[in-house]
Amino acid sequence: MERPSLATPTTVRVGLASCGIASGATAVYEKLRSLLADHDDIELQQVGCVGLCFHEPLVEVEVDGTRYLYGEVTPEIAEAILAFHLRGEGDIEERLVFNSEGDAAENAMLAKQVRIVLRNCGHIDPERIEAYVARDGYQALTQALRMKPEEIIAEVEKSGLRGRGGAGFSTGLKWRFTRAAAGDVKYVVCNADEGDPGAFMDRSVLEGDPHSVLEGMAICARSVGASEGVIYCRAEYPLAVRRLEGAIAQARQAGYLGRDILRSGFDFEIKVKEGAGAFVCGEETALLASIEGRRGTPRPRPPFPAQKGLWGKPTVINNVETFANVPWILVHGADAFARHGVGKSRGTKVFALAGKVRKGGLVEVPMGMPLRELVEGIGGGVGEGHAIKAVQMGGPSGGCIPAELLDTPVDYESITATGAIMGSGGMVVLDDTSCMVDVARFFLHFTQSESCGKCPFCRIGTRRMLEILERICRGEGKVSDLARLEELSVQVKDGSLCGLGQTAPNPVLTTLRYFRGEYEAHIVDKRCPAKVCTTLIHYRIDPGTCIGCTLCARQCPVSAISGERRKAHTIVDETCVRCGQCVTVCPVQAISVESP
């Protein structure tokens, strides 16, 4: 790689969101800080998640407006990056993952994306309000203060923005209802209780661009006539809570929050309320109960929160991603937003790509992009020698979309037609090593333990469904179980008050619909085709291949492997716990997994 420019870098950025920190970015940041101590002309910044989680820790060097992004950076590599950019020494091309002017490994992955929600994530220091303001931050609020509330609502309605938390209700309409509701006291609530396992886009926005959420809430408050806001954030996201609180303090100081905002006479305060750990609190009426200090159980609607919400007052509840869209819409116009997307799904959607996909991370794409383009084009497909089996969308409320439907466009209506839901945007890719019955059991285990217990069908029905699925996974299923599962699914859906119970059967229904053969293999042949369900698989050492190195015997946590040195080893099936550690350590691949 040629030295990009003789100019000295102006800025060095380190991704310090949760995933970066977990990969060791803090040590990289500290190393760079000590190396740059004598360089007053180079600014060292900490930024949020740029979305290339699989390359963390990430370091970006900006030279003359060109950005060079390096991945898998260690403190030593960080030193090499500086040596290269400052003195032209060495070569670090193999670590270059993105180059804003030239070409690099992940340029294509980023080029397919449209960044509205994530416009600032990975680019600005989330702990400095100046960085947000420098990129048009709070310009939308300034504009909104000059507009009539009805005009703001009309603009949001025109953009076609729909709730990004899962249900997809029109955001403008929700605001209109709340504005129309009688009462002097109204509230704006931000649902940051991102509980769907496999979804982490809200965390990234809160950690990487907290002001965009605050600004979106303030604009909403202005349009509906609220003066108090609450962000209900998961306690599992300590960094997000810290950054939000810091951002609120800075916004108050700068006059974007508090009394008489920008001398307009408009007052708006935001408080952060930490959740206490309950998945059901992502449901809006349960969330309100939790803010009020009670057990987070849902209540029947109507009345909807727009009429009777927090403390019985009209309340708008939107999720993090929805609010983060709002400032962009006001600055760029509803038409610019609606230009992206298809049909009734306008704008973009952020997805958390995870599971068996090669390039896991956060991606933001226009609605309507075919699922295949997302998973294969952007996510790079699955590992060598494996095939995509399904994509799980929408978490425990969603379903599994099989590989043959990968050309489905990603919009609310098309995804719902497959039996899955758009949900909050978790996208877990499954390949031929994933057992679909096990996946269904996994989700039922989750919803069963998270059911608040208010509705008997959800409380007891999910329990019965889980018991059946566990039995099938153990190879003790009956053919009649499948009809029983379908029957229970309908009853749980019909007999539950809130989204948790109404959608809990979805993972079972979609896997039954698209992967019935796998259920039947477990029940009839007592076989797990993906070789996952532990009671249906056996580990076997091939005596011809085994070299008797004893590595597996020493690794086995339950001493199930015996054999003399330099002689073939054997596994005692009754003792084996199917942990798979022997397979990992075997140097000659002599151990195989079998399902009869």
């Binding site: 995933c19 982490f200 965390r203 599992e236 206490a276 009020e292 995870a354 896991g360």
Partner: protein
């Protein structure tokens, strides 16, 4: 949430000042319990009952809230709290095998604390670090891309005081 050693009777401060700050207010159950837990490291049943008496709230209401939310615990925690992620991405990447290995290794079930009071093993829904799956947190540190073997080695490092 910092890991804390079990709090002995002798360390228990008087509840009165804490409880008094909640007198006459509505919807206090969650912050009140959080404050009690901060003081003791967990929710001792006697402390909850005492607060209920002092504030004239039915004890059942407080226990109802305490057992509803996963943040509250009625038993003391170990020095290191292990939070193994059992989210979807971690599940398909083999976190169940890590869960089984840790239970075997520590000789505890989910939610329990080892005899020496060193580790508490918790399973959590999703830590939001899906691209590093499978993941566990020990205290505030996140450890990713685990195997059963690697997970045990991580804990050994904490036991030896090297982490």
């Amino acid at each position: 949430m910092c890991p804390r050693s079990p709090v002995g009777e002798a360390d228990r401060a008087d509840l009165t000042p804490l409880v008094e700050t909640y007198r006459g207010r509505h919807g206090v159950a969650i912050p009140l319990l959080a404050d009690i837990q901060r003081q003791f490291g967990y929710l001792p049943a006697e402390a909850v009952e005492e607060a209920a008496r002092a504030l004239d709230i039915p004890a059942a209401e407080l226990f109802g809230v305490a057992t509803f939310y996963s943040m509250f615990r009625l038993k003391p925690l170990g020095v290191h709290v292990i939070r193994l992620c059992r989210g979807t991405a971690c599940h398909v990447q083999g976190s169940l095998r890590i869960a089984e290995e840790l239970q075997r290794h520590l000789k505890v079930a989910e939610g329990d604390t080892t005899e020496d009071g060193l580790f508490t093993l918790q399973f959590v829904a999703c830590l939001g670090c899906c691209s590093l799956a499978p993941v566990m947190m020990v205290g505030e540190d996140v450890h990713g891309r685990l195997t059963p073997d690697k997970a045990v080695k991580v804990l050994d490092a904490y036991r030896d005081g090297k982490a």
